[in-house]
Every structure is written in structure tokens, then in C-alpha cells.
Assembly symmetry: C2
């Protein structure tokens, strides 16, 4: 039986989700509050397919709906991509909870708000989760699945199964934490990077080269745990015995929030392509990420 999915919000993230579900054979109902966004959505989806070198025939699976109630009627999963404003999210979830059947999972793409913020007190809070993607999810597969305090364990199980069925890579968090995992890791790396740049130790492009031609290349194949597991003859415990004290010393002197300065922003902006190039560079990024994704899939372990 064809899976029925609703995607709420048809901006960049919502459209990428629609593509993820459609290319996996789901029937996708896409809705946005803004009629202009709805009107353009299918053309923009076709353009996203062209850029990422994907078969646009999957878009026949996508129906643009004129209202939210129609979009969510009878679906097994709602992927919500509304604004990151608590009052708006609360209203959306109150509506979704009322409009959908008890077996429907309500998943938010939120990166800043936690389910406990917007699901609190709702009758259906056991079926509300965060399914946090990376921009854009049709070319970057990881999805952080984060329960709220009242989310039912079987909802998390079903969420994991669905994400795998649509060829994404779910990562389950056991409980809520500010920033989830991915943005916490990104934040510490950015803080240290900004300070090294502001101190003039390295240029912004030099810092980027350190990652793209160094750590990032390794991390595209092996995560940081698998990496250190291979960097000492006796595996990860041997690594942490040998290098843990050094790594601890380096992290003790690492930068924190104070590194996010205006001056660091100025230095970085002066070394990188300007805002006028952002749209074209973003399209190239997505095309290259899609290529890399195919390479990694074909060269998987």
C-alpha cells in the first residue's frame, strides 16, 4: 500500500522533504500557508531535481493542497516545516493534533525548538517528535530523531523505520538537549574556528582547507569515533590512553560563545565570496553533494 505523507510548509526544507518522500514512492501532500509559495512549489521541485541530477518523474507523487486539513487527511506522517516561533508552532501542533488520526506521527523539522516546547499539554503529545534534517535533506541524509518527554517509544520505532524506508539515515537521541547532536558539534567547531581566525593564526580559507582536505574528508567516510578507533593499534581505548590527555588539554583551552564576534565575522566575510554569489554557490553545493552522495552510496562498506 502506498504510504501517505503530508509536508507542511513548502520552503527549501519542506520541498526537499517532499522530494525525499516522493522519490521513495510515497504519496506526498504538500501545503504552504502562502498561495504564491504553493503555486511555485512544483516548478521549484523540478529545478531541485535538475540540480541534483535526479529523476523528476517522482514529482508525479506530489500533490499541492489548498488547505492543511486536506493535506493531512489520512496520512501516516506529517513533516512540519513552519517558522521557528513558539506561538506559531504551538498553534500548528494544536491544529494538527485535532485534524489527524491517533496513529499519525507529527514530526517537526525544528532545529531550535524542542517537542516539549510545542507539544506540551496536547492530547496527542505521545505522537509528536522532532525529525531534524540538515539543509537540504534530499542531498544530505542524516535525520536527528528527538523525542519529547511524553513521546511514546513505539513512535520513535516507527519514525526510525520510516526514515530508513525513505533512504534517510536516522539518528535517535534518547532525550531532549539544546541543539540536538549535530548543531552542538557544529557549534564547538565554529567557536574554535572563529577564535583561531580572529587571532590571525589561520585565514578563513586556510581553516576551510584544513577541514575539506583533512578532517572533513576522513569524516565523510568514518565518523570521529570510528576514526579514533583506527588511530591507535589497540583501538579506541588505546587511542584515549595515548592521546586523551592531549585532547583534553586542547579542549580545556578551546573557545566558547565569546568567539562569535563582529570582528571575526568581518574577517571571514572579507575572505569569502560575497552575498551576491550565495544563490549560485548554493546550487553548485547541492549538485556536488548529490554527486558525492551517489559516490558514497556506490562505495559503501
Amino acid at each position: 500500500m502506498t504510504r501517505k505523507i503530508a509536508v507542511i510548509g513548502a520552503g527549501l526544507i519542506g520541498r526537499a522533504w517532499a522530494l525525499v518522500f516522493a522519490r521513495a514512492g510515497c504519496e506526498v501532500r504538500l501545503w504552504d500557508l502562502d498561495p504564491n509559495v504553493r503555486a511555485r512549489a512544483l516548478d521549484e521541485l523540478a529545478e531541485a531535481c535538475r540540480l541534483s541530477g535526479e529523476d523528476a518523474s517522482a514529482l508525479a507523487q506530489v500533490t499541492i493542497c489548498a488547505d492543511m486539513a486536506t493535506a493531512v487527511d489520512g496520512v501516516e506522517w506529517v513533516q512540519e516545516n513552519g517558522p521557528e516561533k513558539l506561538e506559531i508552532k504551538r498553534q500548528i501542533y494544536a491544529d494538527l493534533d485535532r485534524m489527524t488520526a491517533a496513529h499519525t506521527i507529527l514530526a517537526s523539522s525544528s532545529s531550535a525548538l524542542l517537542a516539549s516546547h510545542f507539544a506540551e499539554g496536547l492530547p496527542g503529545r505521545a505522537r509528536i517528535i522532532v525529525a531534524h534534517p540538515v539543509n537540504p535533506p534530499h542531498v544530505i541524509p542524516v535525520i536527528e530523531l528527538c523525542p519529547g518527554p511524553d513521546t511514546a517509544p513505539e513512535v520513535m520505532e516507527r519514525a526510525e523505520v520510516l526514515m530508513r524506508a525513505v533512504a534517510q539515515v536516522p539518528v535517535r537521541l534518547s532525550r531532549e538537549i539544546d541543539g540536538f547532536v549535530l548543531n552542538r558539534l557544529q557549534a564547538v567547531l565554529l567557536a574554535e574556528s572563529l577564535r583561531l581566525i580572529e587571532q590571525g593564526i589561520v585565514t578563513p580559507r586556510g581553516l576551510d582547507d584544513t577541514i575539506t582536505h583533512g578532517l572533513g574528508r576522513r569524516w565523510a567516510l568514518l565518523g570521529p569515533m570510528a576514526t579514533i578507533n583506527l588511530n591507535a593499534p589497540g583501538g579506541v581505548k588505546d587511542y584515549l590512553d595515548r592521546y586523551g590527555p592531549t585532547m583534553a588539554r586542547l579542549s580545556d583551552s578551546s573557545a566558547r560563545g565569546e568567539a562569535f564576534t563582529e570582528r571575526a565575522a568581518e574577517i571571514i566575510a572579507a575572505d569569502l565570496p560575497g552575498p551576491a554569489q550565495v544563490p549560485e554557490l548554493s546550487r553548485r553545493r547541492d549538485a556536488r553533494l548529490a554527486e558525492l552522495g551517489r559516490f558514497l552510496r556506490d562505495n559503501n562498506e
Copy 2:
């Protein structure tokens, strides 16, 4: 004219350096204190070529030398890969300084010691630098070039030119800092990862998936600065205006050295392949890194 290079130390890193220089057409003199290591070096180099899918004919450029003085005679660059022990390094650099001509650059692969630690007081300290590779440098191209306080600027210029000539990617640091850039970035990410794992928020494999299927995939193509430059319509300054406060908050609550606990090591070791699999997994890592390197070279901007 063929460039003449000496590589001192024929362990994993020294051999990888020998391969980097040889495949770029340099004449390489390889020496190790241990005669058994010297005797095996060419066979091990041939095996490294086989694993990384490279043409082993470059190995004809490599000569194994029976003593250090012969290896370094008349070379333009010495790449030293001795043990990370200060007294040993001091002795090696005193010897190298005496044995080599004034135009020869003396470069250390050291990750833990700085040039100021082992070049201090030597007549040739202006030509001594750190050229820090990532394990293993024949499949990961970044090289951190770090001057000591007395290193001449033209030595850094020549070092950068040579690294580009042998197809590595040099990153220049303006001055010494503990851990250089790469290991400082790795350390902050490891600290936060270990704490998230120890707290049970995410499993070690889940954490690795977050990177390999998320941030690492992006970072193999775009560094963290280029990434944030494309994650807001107005570029990096717009990004830092919008998300800087969130990233600052997350890094303010990030883990530091206290995260490197025995318990975290136990949890990680229990979730990953054991030490017996390290050699085979390392070989597969190198083969896959070589493949990925070719893919990235062919799909470069």
C-alpha cells in the same frame, strides 16, 4: 632538475611522505634508525601503493639509505618523522642542522612538539618548521605549516610552494599554537562527542552517523566557513547575525577536557569493532580515502 628530498624515519608517516614526494617525481632518500624497518620499507611502500590504487613505478624514485648523513646530503628538504620525545628531537635537529647546507629546509611531522621546543638555540633555526600531516598523508592532502619564532618568512614561502608542487594542500599558520589548527578542531569535537555519548544522549554509532551522513559529507566539499556562508541569504555575516547567538549558547555549554573519561571510552569500545579488526579496517580506510580523493579531484570546483 629533479628535486632531492630526504625522509627521516620510515614508519607509517615517513613511508607515506616518501610516496607523496616520489609520485611527484622527486628523488627520495629514505632512512630509519632501525635496520629492520629500512629492510622492509620498499615492500611496505609497494603494499601502500597497492591499497591506495597507485602506480608503484614511482617507487623507483626512492632510495633506502644506510645512514642519515647520506640521506640528507644535498637535499632541498628534510621531512623528519622521529619519535615525539623532546630530547630525541633536539638531538636529531642538532645533527640535521650540522649535516645539511644552509638552504635546506628542515621540516618536522610533529603533532605534539613545536619548532620552538626543538629548534631553540640552533644556528639553523630560521630554516626549521613543522609540516604536520594527517595520517596517512598519501591519501589525505592537508599539511599544516607552522613556523617557529625564528623561522624565516622565505622558508615558509618555499615550504608552501614545495607542498603544492607535490600535490599536497598546505595550510599556513602565522605562529605557534598548541595542537596547531587541525587537532584543536578535532579535540573540541571529540570532547563534545564523548560527553553526549557518556550522557546516553546518542550512541557512538549514532554520533558517527551524524557526521558521516551529515556534517562530514558537507565538510568534505565545503569547509565550515564556506558552509555557513551559504546557510543564510546574506552570506556569513547574515548567518552570524541570525544564528551566532544560538551557536554561542551551544558552545557556552559545550564539554571540555573532563569529558575524556574511562567510562566514555568503555561505552565507545563496546559499540565499535575491536582491536583485532583495526589493521584490516585501516587498510580499507586508506583504500576508500584514496578513492574519495580521486573523486574529489575529478569533481573539483
